[in-house]
Symmetry: D2
Subunit: 339 residues, 4 copies
């Protein structure tokens, strides 16, 4: 039995706590929050769990084996480091840390101690994304592009901009689905609130083999859109997360290129248009799958799908995008950053 | 009565010819095309119109007062210049020319001769776009962003890439609706066909006052999307050209910022969510409105809405985007280009 | 303070209990259910509420002022009658009773005792339906038709057929919105399960002045549809409850009839097509509005919007429809039934 | 070569003429219309075709082998009979005739003369409907219901009501897809224009084995809907003709009934929810397929898919529905009518 403590019981913490309390081989042992109202809520929802006001006391609890951190990004590093140093396994919400350097130090610490370090890239564990991963690996052919739109009205964040708040979802899904990493990032964005965070942003990721990724994140859209297009040489996918059913549609469409031996100019491009197919999707709550995976990885000393490296890769792209936005789209190379 | 000749009777020429033949005060007098099949079609559809194989002979015809050019982009400049030099008014399809220099020379020639020079930015004359222009001017408040997606499967072009083929529509609409010009462009894009044209492209336009424009153009999408979001401080618009009716929806949604006197960090952002409204739109064919405008401008010696300057501005953005794409998004300043 | 007991804690009871526990001037005092699992759940969710296994004991509790009944339809009459006889106000879920006779007896009993008798026609209290009621009264002009589709896959009921399970919603909304009653009903329907309940049904209601109502209810549809069209002489409504936002759309569309003085045959019918408008809707949970209305009516001795008469009217239509279905659509007059 | 004459060049005639002029083995030889404007249009579009003002002269033309009739319904019988008596093959638009008796007489005449008699049930030849026919035969399992909605604003007809104008499409598709005939019809409907035609109508068709058909036809809807649900024991179909692509969706959904040996009441109903699949559809214009089928049937003396009997069956249902509407839904048996 793995005893788990949850730090932070604001917006996301209750979801983590509920799912971890039901994780195979897991037990919700403690919850901490600085806010008395959040603690009262925790006591009501989890009457048999210890509720504390001090995260460091929670980390210090002997009976706690693992800690889930659902606090503002700026506190992730200190809390996760303290937990690892105290010998606890860690699940940290996204984005993993505020800098790549912090992410790397957590990875090193976890490795040194032989502890599980996992990042809560929730969507990676959802039915639609797991199905897309499967399709990308065997049905799509050569990958051409990954294009994602995640826009809606609000909620403006105080501590992170729209890339670190919304695009992080797409970057983590893209990392999982494409299983390769961009060479460079070009990003653009603006703030429409004086002194405020960037609320409208665009990010292009350049991969090898002309694969291109693009993300549009916006807190100021009149409508909610959650739509990803994935183009491959054999099939293409439309993933619309606002649909109630048929969230993933697979199109047997594409082009065929008959290259002329004499002259590139004369190559003939044909169009293929076949069936569309919407596979049945697992509707288990993503966070439940993730919670089970967390306890399972701890027990088997296995590497989580969204391990510290996945968290680091995502933070690295966010960092590069932030730098590129400041220079109006100037590309930021990632090779130098190493992996 | 203005006698009009149409050069090029391939894909778009027949539409131009049909609408110009019905334009108020206009008469379709001649059509030319290099292709015998196209000429046969022209003879069948316009039995009382002269059909020629040589565009220069058409330009030379005394009875022709104005010429509409619907040929590949690479030929626009030579044909338009010849027509202007022969004293004919000119309507040229988009993009106006292959370079800004060519566009500028046509403008100069038309001005010198006192002739009407108009660019066929068709969408500007459509019911939805005219309504959006009206709304942008009086209902939206401060403009925040203009975001457009124009993607579908095919048709790959041989002589222009996806920006010059598809994004040109959005750039010309954006030019008309925003009535201001970007300071810089950052664009990214790739080709997935060896030696082929860029088929997936993204373009960011930076305007003053944090207004940002963005266009996604793609020839390789499994689904056809034609959707523009326009954000303002008072209202927001969704324009979906694939809808049969209600193409333009106006949302009474947005944010309110209550700035704290002490500290920017504490500013409170509120959300406003009111009615949605889909105005009734004029369904007159855009090209008919445009054809009437062309003959009207000639008769009244008036400046067309989509005059040579509008064509030049659009070509300038395309040129800048093409340069930026080659450098993976490095921003290209437009100030130096002058206007 | 009104002390409320909830009888039945299966599918709908928990929702009633939660909302009644938050009703203005109300207090959730007791819950009863025959099923031990349901009682355990009630104890967990409402730790300070008495949980009983016997509904009659709950009804007998002195401190209980009002009773909400969320049990199978066949038990509504006996439980509601017992509650009224014990001097308790009653809120009963839909359909009110299994027969009109039962409904009439409950109305009589409540009147005799001066007690509030209310039927849980939940949708009547929802934001969309309240807005539609408002629009029907002042914007639509003469009403032409009310057409509703409520179909999905499952859940097949054991004790009521698809009309008594799904169409009852539409009949209660129609009763509220149209504020007039049909003269006759013609209904058709079939069962596709041997010996089972009717799972696909159609109902036409004939009103005065050529107003027609129609409902399609189906447990065996591959897709979920919840769509009502309401036609008026001035405006028309589309109400789609599966939409996340813009559930109600008002169309400024219709016909104009220019009658020729000589001959009806020559009347000219014109078509009007104006703006569409989606009013902002109150998103308060319908059941919360209803719970507040229940305690308010008790306190003010006011007649509920969905009083016993509304319940009776709906049961009368269901009874007539059931009779008509057995005779393959033969119309059943409602005049004789009197109101 | 079959020489074809087209009678009636109003709304639908030009489509028939265009497609028949391109039919394999066919030649458009003559067109007649009473209206001079229609004749002028015919001359312009078909310069090498004889254009007459008298349909009987067209029928009398020696060189005419076959006649297509696209005139108001009330004239179908006289014109078709005259053509058959003159030894011409006949294609007549829908509904075939104004009465079953007329339809039967045309069938008899054609048979006597050994001529092809075909009814223009256009949708039967469309890609979506041909695919549905294929699916109904091999994939759906036992058929449960056929439910169709065909509503929009306008165009009110003078000579036929909304059933004979719109529902005739659905009845002809249903006849083709189900390949069985109803035992009885119950229909309801009203007119909202004084002395006018019924503009809102509902029709239920009762088949053997609890298969039920239902059609909703309405000229007074604010939105255009063209949606058919077909339920089977193994799969279900949604056919939405307003979709640009994916008009036909096949759902692997349904119920499973585990009957209890003891008691019907205890039967357990399970729900099955699998993939959705949108087959690629032939996009050849339906009328072209139909025109080719017409000339092919004449040449091979084959029985057309939509022969006179199909026309008769559809008229019989319309007649029964008209009778039922007058009696507010009273079912009209079809057995007595024979087939």
């Amino acid at each position: 039995m793995i005893n788990i403590g949850v730090i932070g019981f604001g917006y996301w913490g209750p979801n983590l706590a509920r799912n971890l309390s039901q994780a195979a081989g897991g037990k919700l042992t403690a919850i901490s929050d600085l806010n008395p109202k959040a603690r009262a809520k925790a006591e009501r929802l989890h009457p048999s769990t210890a509720v504390l006001d001090d995260p460091l006391r929670l980390i210090a609890m002997k009976e706690v084996d693992a800690v889930a951190i659902a606090t503002p990004v700026s506190t992730h590093f200190d809390l996760a480091l303290a937990a690892l140093q105290a010998g606890k396994h860690v699940l940290v919400t996204k984005p993993m840390t505020a800098t790549t350097e912090q992410a790397q130090r957590l990875i090193n610490e976890a490795q040194k101690k032989g502890l599980t370090l996992m990042v809560d890239h929730t969507f990676v564990y959802s039915g639609p994304v797991r199905k897309i991963k499967e399709l990308a690996a065997k049905d799509l052919g050569d990958l051409y592009y990954y294009d994602s739109v995640r826009v809606n009205l609000g909620l403006f964040q105080h501590d992170v901009d729209v890339l670190w708040d919304l695009a992080v979802h797409d970057l983590s899904i893209m990392d999982f689905v494409l299983a390769s990493q961009p060479r460079a990032i070009s990003a653009t964005g603006v703030s429409h609130v004086k002194g405020g965070m960037i609320n409208t942003a665009y990010l292009t990721a350049f991969f090898d083999n002309n694969l291109i990724g693009h993300i549009h994140a916006n807190w100021l859209s009149p409508v909610k859109l959650r739509r990803t297009l994935i183009g491959g040489s054999r099939k293409m996918i439309v993933y619309d997360d606002t649909e109630v059913s048929e969230k993933v549609k697979v199109y047997d469409r594409g082009i065929t290129v008959a290259e002329s031996p004499e002259q590139v100019y004369h190559q003939l491009i044909g169009y293929r248009s076949g069936d569309m197919w919407a596979p049945h999707l697992d509707i288990t709550e993503a966070l439940q799958v993730e919670a089970d995976h967390f306890t399972d990885c701890i027990q088997k000393k296995a590497r989580p799908i969204t391990d510290g490296e996945a968290g680091l890769r995502t933070v690295r792209l966010l960092e590069a995008a932030t730098r590129s936005i400041k220079e109006h789209g100037r590309p930021v190379e990632l090779a130098a950053a190493g992996v």
